[in-house]
């Protein structure tokens, strides 16, 4: 459990989850009642893995993702409970972020717990790593994490980028916010005055900018601007944007959809985050562009060893990028397993239904297996399986008890009474005898 110590390179350390969501509940107040949009979601994201979060529209996957950065507006949202434990990393001191044995070539090592300095205590759940609860963190502390340790890619780059700012200014914001001292060091301005430091955090007012433009300070300011430009160009080049110095001066509307998504990715990866949340990053794109963006995300993920939470409604897409998949239905996670297990051996009836609904070459026309019925209303739901009513195998147990996620095979969790007994119930449903 020791961190970046001399002996940690030789003994393999256990991989600790970079983020663990525990019983997350996000509700919304509406006229008709409380909508339980996310109702008891728990999962872990291991360091360096890509976890897919799949589900239909309205199942709460985006709300879960946005809860990580507290982007759900409250009110009407209500934080009804749960925690999101996040373990931030810092740049590896042994290799200065270049990648070495100690940091497993990711350039990042976990930050040591401040209370026990890495030996393991109550506060860090015996992991020895600095652990914060994203839901109770102060706004100021969260700002240090947002865009720095956790970054997000949104669905529609046309909407998520500011149409009134050139690409340069949008990407630069990340550096001004989180990399002020690196910028000053890059520019060789270690002895910078307060005005320049303010400039490097983008907090200068207009008259201060005017002072900076005067000859005595202008040269130093220009050095700073050159350092920022280099950083931006590097970030853009990372996402394979050709001729980044030219693209920097363009506005979002001048770029194609694929390019805009690349800019978003560049912005998100600018600070080398520990966790990247991708909320349907290719839904608004064409298939040919989608393939390139997916390839890019996959390649960058492998190079930076970033953990990714990949949200999508498209199972066939998730299959191509994810190590593990969590299937969500009506505010709950119904199944979590490795990608192959989900596709080869789906255990939950909903997962099975989802997979069968995708038109494949072997399907006879008009014989697609659709899941009957609609997603239930999530207003004050009763304690029953949420899939009851659409499920072919439901029994009385499903209508009276709430199944919880339980392990049915190694690293394969399912919330269904078919696989584990319902409390006080003699007859469980089974796949052999559909009851309906």
């Amino acid at each position: 459990m020791s961190l970046a110590g001399a002996d940690s390179a030789t003994q393999p350390t256990e991989r600790v989850a970079v983020a663990s969501v525990e019983d997350l509940r996000v509700h919304f107040r509406s006229k008709a009642g409380t909508v339980h949009a996310v109702d008891g979601v728990s999962f872990d994201i291991a360091d360096g893995e890509t976890l897919g979060l799949v589900g239909e529209t309205g199942c709460g996957k985006s709300v879960t993702a946005r809860s990580f950065l507290r982007l759900v507006p409250m009110p009407p949202g209500i934080q009804a409970g749960g925690s999101i434990m996040f373990r931030p990393h810092r740049s590896c001191s042994a290799c200065r972020g270049e990648g070495c044995e100690v940091c497993r070539h990711s350039g990042r090592v976990p930050e040591a717990c401040q209370a026990c300095s890495g030996t393991g205590c109550e506060k860090c759940e015996q992991t020895g790593q600095h652990t914060v609860d994203l839901l109770t963190l102060s706004e100021k502390q969260l700002q240090d994490i947002r865009g720095n340790r956790i970054a997000m890619i949104f669905q529609d780059p046309g909407k998520a980028l500011n149409p009134a700012l050139p690409i340069r200014d949008q990407v630069a914001e990340v550096f001004y916010q989180h990399r002020t001292h690196d910028l000053l060091a890059d520019a060789g301005l270690d002895d910078a005055g307060p005005l320049l430091i303010r400039r490097a955090t983008l907090k200068t007012r207009r008259f201060e900018d005017a002072i900076l433009a005067l000859p005595p300070l202008r040269a130093r300011r220009n050095k700073l601007m050159a350092a920022v430009d280099t950083r931006i160009a590097d970030a853009l080049a990372e996402t394979q944007i050709p001729n980044p110095r030219k693209v920097m001066d363009r506005y979002p509307h001048e770029l194609s959809g694929g390019m805009r998504q690349r800019v978003m990715i560049a912005q998100a990866l600018a600070c080398d985050p520990d966790l990247l949340i991708a909320d349907e990053p290719t839904t608004a794109l064409d298939v040919t562009v989608q393939a390139r963006i997916l390839e890019l995300v996959r390649e960058l993920q492998q190079r930076h060893k970033t953990s990714v939470l990949y949200i999508s409604h498209d199972l066939s897409l998730v299959r191509e990028v994810c190590d593990r998949i969590a299937v969500m239905y009506a505010g709950r996670i119904v199944e979590v397993a490795a990608t192959e297990s989900i596709f080869d051996d789906p255990r939950h009836p909903y997962t099975q239904g989802l997979l069968a609904a995708i038109p494949a070459a072997t399907h006879e026309r008009g014989a697609l297996v659709a899941i009957a019925g609609n997603v239930p209303e999530l207003i004050d739901p009763p304690p029953a399986c949420r899939f009851a009513g659409r499920c072919d195998y439901e029994a009385s147990a499903c209508r009276e008890n709430d199944p919880t996620l339980a392990q049915v095979a190694p690293a394969h969790d399912v919330a269904c009474f078919i696989h584990h007994p319902a409390p006080g119930e003699e007859r469980n449903p089974s796949f052999d005898r559909p009851l309906r």
């Binding site: 001729n243 030219k246 064409d286 393939a291 066939s316 609904a357 995708i358 494949a360 026309r365 899941i371």
Partner: protein, 452 residues
């Protein structure tokens, strides 16, 4: 019957029974500029498309966004008038032969009687020319289901009014009779009497799409244009809608023009497929031929870039570059700018030099002006001699594709000017590749592939 027999309805499809014929259809939108709104160019959204729709079949129209598939759908359904060419509805076989013969003649060679024959044919069958009874008959028989069910259903009308509207407009029913007919229609699409007096916002996406389908079916049409009917839906709901569409087709003998970008859906639904690229048809043929033996590299690329559920290995391949500007479509084959197997005969032009080298720093920064003789031949003037020499040097490196280098006929440096001339190439036409199978590519793969 030739061609592929699909798994579903196509057993009933007669090869010669053509419901709708599209002939050399073009739709250009003017690009206007300045205070006087001068026309400075034309966006060629659809640029010469021909295909047939047989009675009772489903034709899939696929392509990237911006390739003109929706515009084509709008022309077919009579929502916009084409700039050139036409959509001919319900032509008997002899009249269709006559039409094809007349259209094959260049306009200058047509005699007066030819002209009169053509005018007579067009008046009763061409969608944008027909009037009176013929037009009314067409409007009844061609209906559209749009992608955005939110936008295509009036939020202030009740479902009864939305679905009953076509019946009222065409004076089919009124009063309680109308209500009963609407209930019947709703039941056909899996809704019921309880939904009559609700507004669109009270329904889910899948239900709204069902309402759109009920409205389209109200007048018992022969042809339904489906413009991405399931793109906004989840897979499980999409499966319901696709099953419904198939059921209705077998019951009523409907003909579908299915516009989509989703290849797994089109493979499931369509008997034949038309692949469009920048306003033109790249390839058309029976579904299984398009999927198993594509002839056009663009079709290959589309197939390779879609993640497929029933494929076990990960082999997604991405396509370089983005879709070209339809206001200045590439010469020759329109796909040559992105084609992985482009040849020197694919229509390389001066614009391609700019496209390839503008991302190489220091090549075009000091470009002063360009004077074109035509698309293949131009003088590029730089601010100084260095710029011209840099460009000429870049043209000899592998910064540009080998095929482009081979097509380059002349590079002359004259002080600060460079002349670039490529071999002139005509537009690539669709050529036959098999029964009912055509592709617009200079390469012919059928020879190199073992037949089976």
């Amino acid at each position: 019957m030739t061609g592929a027999v699909g798994l579903g309805t196509s057993a009933l499809v007669q090869d010669d029974d053509i419901l709708l014929a599209v002939r050399d259809l073009k739709k250009h939108f003017p690009v206007k500029e300045g205070a006087l709104q001068q026309v400075v160019g034309q966006v060629k959204a659809v640029d010469g498309v021909s295909f047939d729709l047989r009675r009772g079949e489903t034709v899939g129209l696929v392509g990237e966004s911006g390739c003109g598939k929706t515009t084509l759908g709008r022309c077919v359904s009579g929502l916009t008038d084409p700039t050139f060419g036409g959509v001919y509805f319900s032509l008997p076989t002899d009249k269709r032969r006559q039409l094809d013969e007349l259209l094959a003649l260049p306009a200058g060679l047509r005699t007066e009687s030819d002209q009169a024959n053509l005018a007579r044919l067009e008046e009763s069958h061409r969608v944008d020319v027909m009037k009176g009874d013929a037009w009314r008959r067409y409007r009844r028989n061609c209906q559209v289901v749009f992608q955005e069910s939110f936008a295509s259903l009036n939020p202030r009308q009740l479902i009864k009014d939305i679905v009953g509207r076509p019946l009222r407009v065409h004076k089919e029913a009124s009063g309680s009779d109308l209500t009963e007919k609407v209930v019947e229609l709703l039941e056909q699409v899996g809704l019921g009497r309880q939904h009559l007096y609700r507004y669109p916002h009270q329904f889910s996406g899948g239900q709204r799409q069902r309402i759109s389908i009920a409205r389209a079916l109200a007048l018992d049409p022969e042809l339904v244009v489906l413009d991405e009917p399931t793109s906004a839906l989840d897979v499980s709901v999409q499966a319901q809608i696709l099953n419904l569409l198939h059921e209705l087709q077998t019951e009523r003998g409907l003909t579908y023009l299915f516009i989509t970008h989703d290849l797994s859906v089109v493979r499931h639904m369509a008997d034949r497929i038309v692949v469009m690229y920048v306003g033109k048809v790249a390839e058309k043929g029976p579904t299984d031929v398009i999927f198993n033996r594509p002839e056009h590299p663009y079709t290959d690329a589309l197939l390779a870039s879609s993640p497929e559920f029933d494929r076990s290995t990960v082999s997604m391949q991405a396509l370089e570059g983005s879709i070209p500007d339809p206001a200045r479509p590439p010469q020759g084959c329109r796909f040559h700018t992105r084609c992985p197997v482009a040849t020197p005969a694919c229509g390389w032009e001066v614009d391609d030099v700019v496209l390839w080298l503008e991302d190489v720093e220091g090549t075009f920064e000091d470009l002063h002006s360009v004077s074109r003789n035509d698309a293949f031949d131009a003088w590029l003037t730089f601010d100084d001699q260095g710029g011209a020499q840099r460009l000429a040097a870049a043209l000899r490196t592998d910064a540009i594709p080998a095929a482009m280098q081979a097509a380059l006929e002349e590079v002359t440096v004259d002080e600060a000017r460079v002349r670039i001339r490529f071999a002139e190439v005509d537009e690539v036409q669709l050529t036959a590749r098999g029964p009912n199978h055509q592709a617009a590519c200079v390469l012919d793969r059928s020879g190199s592939r073992p037949q089976n």
